[in-house]
Structures are given as C-alpha cells and as structure tokens.
C-alpha cells in the first residue's frame, strides 16, 4: 500500500514540477525575452523598460491567475464529483457558469434589448465581474433553497441542469436584439481569458478564492465519509445538510469567482480530478485535495503556455486548449484502465 513516504515523494515531485512550469510560463510569450532579462525584470532591475512591464504586469499576474484558476476549478470539480457521487459532474453542474453567463449577457447584450443602439458600451470590467458574481450567486441561492427542502441530493443536480437551459434561452433572446459588436463582446467573454487581470483585481480574486479553499479543506472529513454513501455517512455522525451546504458554498465561491474574473473555462474541473485519481490511485480526499490543487495548477500553466503560441504574434483562446487537451486525456485514461475509478 502506498504509505505516507511514497505520497511525500510524489508531492515533492509535483511541487517541483509546478515551480518549473511557472517559470516556463513566464519565460515564453509572443515577445522573446532572454532568460537573463526575465530574472532581472523579476528583481526589478530591468535592462529594457517594456520587457520589465510585460514580465511584471502582464506575465506574472497571468501565471498566478492560471494557478488559481487551475487549482480552483480542479478542487470544485472534485467536490462536486464526490457530493453527487457522479464521475461526470464538474464545477458547473450546479448551474454556476450558467448564472454567471446570464449576468454577463444582461450587461453586455442587455442594452440592445432595453435601450437604444450603442447606448453605453461603457461596461467596465468591474460591471462584468459583478454581474457574473451576482448571476452565480442568485443561482446558488436557488440551489441552496432547494437543497434545504429536499433530502435527495440528486434533485439538486437536476435544478442545476435546468438553470443551464433557462440561461441558454434567455441569452438567445438577448442575442437576437443585440448589435454585432455586443455579440462579439459576449462571445469573447465566453472564450475565457487568463491575461486580463491587474494586480488589484488579482488580489480581490485571491481573497475570495482563499475562503473557498479553506471551506474545501474543512470538508475533507465529510467528503471521505460520503464515499460510503449518504446513509452510512449519517450513521457515522455526519451532518449531511451542513456538509452539503459547506461543499456547495465552497464550490460556488471557487467556480463563481473564477468565472467572474476569467470567464467560463471548460473541462479542467471535470478532467483534473479524474487524472489525479488515476495517477495517485486513491479516493482519500486528504491526499486528493492537495494533489488536485497542484495538478490543476500545473495543467493550467501548461495550457496557457501553449495558448500563448510562443514566438508568434498570435494567441489562441484558452478554452480551445483546455478542451483539446482535456477530452482526449480523459478518454485515454478510461480506455487504459477500463473502468472509471471513483
């Protein structure tokens, strides 16, 4: 049986890989910056002013954003898969990304519906962030109301799916009345983007993210108990309603904030827990939670580095990369192992 020593080694290796990926990520971008200059820029003594700005104010925040997004989505995906005992669940299964999309659609596309043409395309980044957060928060409230009235956890999943459909319908109506520019804005939001945060925005993002992570850590024991099923969990003294509440709030904080700041990022929340489970060969959340954290951060950094198309002037949308990589990996893992380890 893999004992704690084996795990300690694995974690050390993962941390090392994370640090390496972090440096690789900030070293490569559209503009070729030699390694020496990168170190100088990090230390603040730059030979080239625009390079220093790019490293300090563009690539560094982007790399940190990638870490928060990858780890946050991975962990919320893990929480959802265990809570719903469904390997196909992901962080957006509660309708969080639908709620956020609805909020953003109302802000970006709504002016065409409610008012004249080109009225205020002056939606700042903050109004989009706030709208996305409000949207996912409202969906969360609805889910929690249902959760308190209903004993069956599966019903919550259905509610989440329903919200997805409602959002899609409302967005299509709004789209019909929108101008080309507004639609373009909305679609671009949907591509997801990691490089758009200033240090201040990153700080706000991080504060909420930390609360989500803390709540996830607090739920480790409950998550492990839920591996036996809800009836056994109850007989072991677990307060199911309270556990469920904490898990749902943790997921919403993580997935909701990520969607608000970086847009809806596909696939990571679903794929990372599976990949981690296969590699570490355990379902114990005490191991899985930190492992998913590290693994999610690593994969996101790699996806972002690829999306930057180093040395080319062009970049790809991050969602394209996460899907292109995520889907085949999960399929390959399943085929190799032949059963869904859960």
């Amino acid at each position: 049986m893999p004992n704690s020593k084996t795990y300690k080694i694995s974690f050390l290796v993962l941390i090392l890989i994370l640090i390496i990926c972090f440096f690789v990520n900030i070293s490569f971008g559209s503009v070729s910056i030699p390694l020496k200059s990168i170190f100088n820029s990090l230390l603040g003594s730059a030979d080239n002013e625009s390079w220093q700005y790019i490293i300090q104010n563009y690539r560094l925040p982007k790399a940190f954003t990638a870490i928060l997004v990858g780890s946050g989505l991975g962990i919320s995906g893990l929480l959802m898969q265990t809570l719903f005992r469904n390997p196909l669940a992901g962080p957006f299964v509660l309708g969080i990304s639908s709620g956020a999309s609805l909020g953003v659609a109302l802000v970006i596309l709504g002016s065409g519906f409610f008012g004249g043409v080109f009225t205020t395309l002056l939606f700042s980044k903050w109004s989009v962030v706030i709208a996305a957060s409000l949207g996912s928060f409202l969906v969360l409230l609805a889910v929690l109301m249902v959760s308190s009235k209903v004993r069956d956890t599966m019903a919550i999943l259905i509610i989440g799916l329903m919200f997805g459909s409602i959002t899609a319908a409302v967005v299509s109506v709004l789209s019909y009345f929108s101008s080309a520019e507004q639609l373009q804005q909305y679609i671009f939001w949907g591509f997801g983007s990691l490089g758009n945060l200033s240090w201040y925005e990153l700080l706000v993002f991080f504060s909420i993210y930390v609360v989500g992570i803390l709540l996830s850590i607090v739920s480790i024991k409950g998550l492990n108990t839920l591996l036996l099923g809800e009836n056994y969990a109850k007989s072991l003294g677990l307060n199911i309603k309270q556990s469920r509440l904490i898990i749902i709030i943790a997921t919403s904080l993580l997935a909701g904030t990520i969607t608000a700041f970086a847009g809806p990022i596909a696939f990571i929340g679903l794929a990372i827990p599976h990949m981690t489970r296969q590699i570490f060969n355990t379902s114990n959340h005490k191991i899985l939670l930190p492992a998913v954290f590290l693994f999610g951060a690593i994969v996101m950094l790699i996806c972002d580095s690829i999306a930057q198309l180093p040395t080319s002037d062009y970049t790809l949308p991050i969602n394209a990369i996460t899907s292109l990589i995520g889907a085949p990996v999960v399929i390959w893992l399943l085929v190799r192992k032949r059963k869904m380890m859960f």
């Binding site: 591996l227 036996l228 009836n231 007989s235 072991l236 005490k286 859960f342």
Partner: protein, 264 residues
C-alpha cells in the same frame, strides 16, 4: 434472573411504527416492547412485507416512530446528538458503498470517523482498533486490496469490520446474508455469534434465514400480522410461534428439527 442484571442496551417502550402521509396514518406494527442485552445475538424475522425494514429504520433513527419510545443505553434515541449516536450504534446496510476504489483498510478506517479530529487523522489507538477489527473478521490478509477486487462474501466481512471499528455497544445489520451462498450464510452468522460473545456487543440482524437464526441466536424478534414477539428460540418454538408465521399450504414447521419442511 441473571438476564436482568445484564446491562440493557436497546429498549423499546410501547413502540408503534408506521407511516404518516398528509391524509392518514398507516400503522405497520404497534405495542412493541423489546429489551436487548449486552453480548446478545438477536435475529429479526418475519414474512415479506411485514415491516422488518420499517422496524429497523425506526430503531436506527432513520424514521420517526408513530408513538412510543426507543432507548439506547437508557437515553431516548431522539435526544442523541448525531456524533454521540454514532458512538453508540453502527450499521451494516444492504446498499453498496458509493466508492469501491477504497482499500479495505481505508474503508474499515472510516468506521473511526466519530472519534477522529476535524480532518480525520488516525491516532495509534484508532489504528489498533482497525487492526483488531480486521483480525476479528479474519480479513487481515486483505488489508491492502481494493474493495472492487473482493467477492461478495469478503466485502460483507469488510462492512462488518467497519462496524466493529466504530466501537459501538449496538450493531444493527439489515439482511446481511442475502446474495451469499449457504456456506457463507452460515459463516457470517456464526461470525456474528462469535463476535457478540467475544466483544460483548449487542448484535441485531434481520434475515430470512429463520433456520439458521434459530440455531445461532440468543434471542429472536418475530414479527407476525398481529404482534411482535421477542424471546429465546426455544421458548418461541414451544409457544408455537413459527407455526403461525407462514400460510400452511406449502410449508410446515417441524419442532423436532427446528426447521421448515416442504409439504409433500
């Protein structure tokens, strides 16, 4: 007389069980008065649909009684905090666990949840309890195997070991011998008998194996259409309780062998 001095672990007082919908109340059984003592193996039997599951659900606080009380260690079951109840009562259910990816050790270790800290760390005492439970159920050599690699019989032993590790005075098992072959049916019930004696725990199980229950149990609870009787197998036989359990056209109870025979 000696029975009265033994500690009473489970007691019901005028218990009435059933369902309430908005319109009416359905009584499944009433006036149930049972006393279960330390170190006893008790079998709960009855015809299909008579209410065995309802009774078990009421005794384990999954379902509310219609009236009357259930006491565990003299405390009313409704007064228990969930964690304290978990330290007094453990269950073995018919449902499969949600994740079979756990190793045997990990699954049995989950039985210690009521005692571990906020993150679930195992102390040396916890690990000893787990190992003891594995020994008592004879599955030490399976310790590191994953649960999806086990047979039904082995898995059942693991679930029992988990309930043992939970270190409770009372263990309740819902139909622990369904799906097992005859040898393993006997094996599991014999195991339960041995455990009750060795650990001094009270073990209550429901079953369709009336023959085996008669041979192995200290006490049996028989649910019939009219009432719920609790007594030793000998007394139950001499009272002729088993004769009235099933319709007489197909099978009959033979007092001498203590088993049911098919009528020719």
């Amino acid at each position: 007389m000696t029975n009265d001095t033994k500690h009473i672990v489970l007691k019901t007082e005028q218990l009435s069980i059933g369902y309430t919908t908005k319109k009416k109340e359905t009584v499944v059984a009433s006036k149930i008065n049972i006393e279960l003592h330390k170190g006893e193996l008790i079998g709960l039997v009855g015809a299909n649909g008579i209410g065995k599951s309802t009774l078990l659900r009421t005794l384990t606080n999954v379902q509310n009684p219609l009236s009357g009380h259930v006491f565990i260690n003299t405390i009313n079951i409704t007064d228990f905090q969930p964690e304290d109840l978990a330290k007094a009562l453990s269950l073995v259910l018919t449902e499969q666990v949600a994740s079979k990816n756990l190793s045997v050790f990990e699954l049995v270790a989950l039985g210690r949840q009521p005692y571990t800290n906020w993150v679930g760390n195992l102390t040396e005492h916890d690990i000893n309890s787990i190992n003891t439970s594995l020994q008592q159920t004879n599955i030490e050599d399976l310790k590191h195997k994953k649960c999806f690699e086990l047979s039904d019989g082995q898995l059942q032993k693991v679930m029992i070991a988990r309930a043992l590790a939970q270190d409770t005075d009372l263990i309740i098992l819902d139909e622990p011998t369904t799906h097992l072959d005859m040898y393993h049916k006997a094996y599991i019930l014999k195991l339960l008998q041995r455990l009750a004696k060795e650990t001094n725990k009270t073990i209550l199980f429901s079953s369709h194996e009336i023959d085996l229950a008669i041979q192995l149990c200290d006490k049996m609870i028989v649910m019939t259409k009219d009432n719920v009787i609790s007594d030793s197998p000998c007394h139950l036989i001499s009272k002729g309780v088993f004769k009235t359990l099933f319709p007489k056209d197909l099978i009959d109870f033979d007092e001498n062998s203590g088993s049911f025979r098919v009528k020719k």
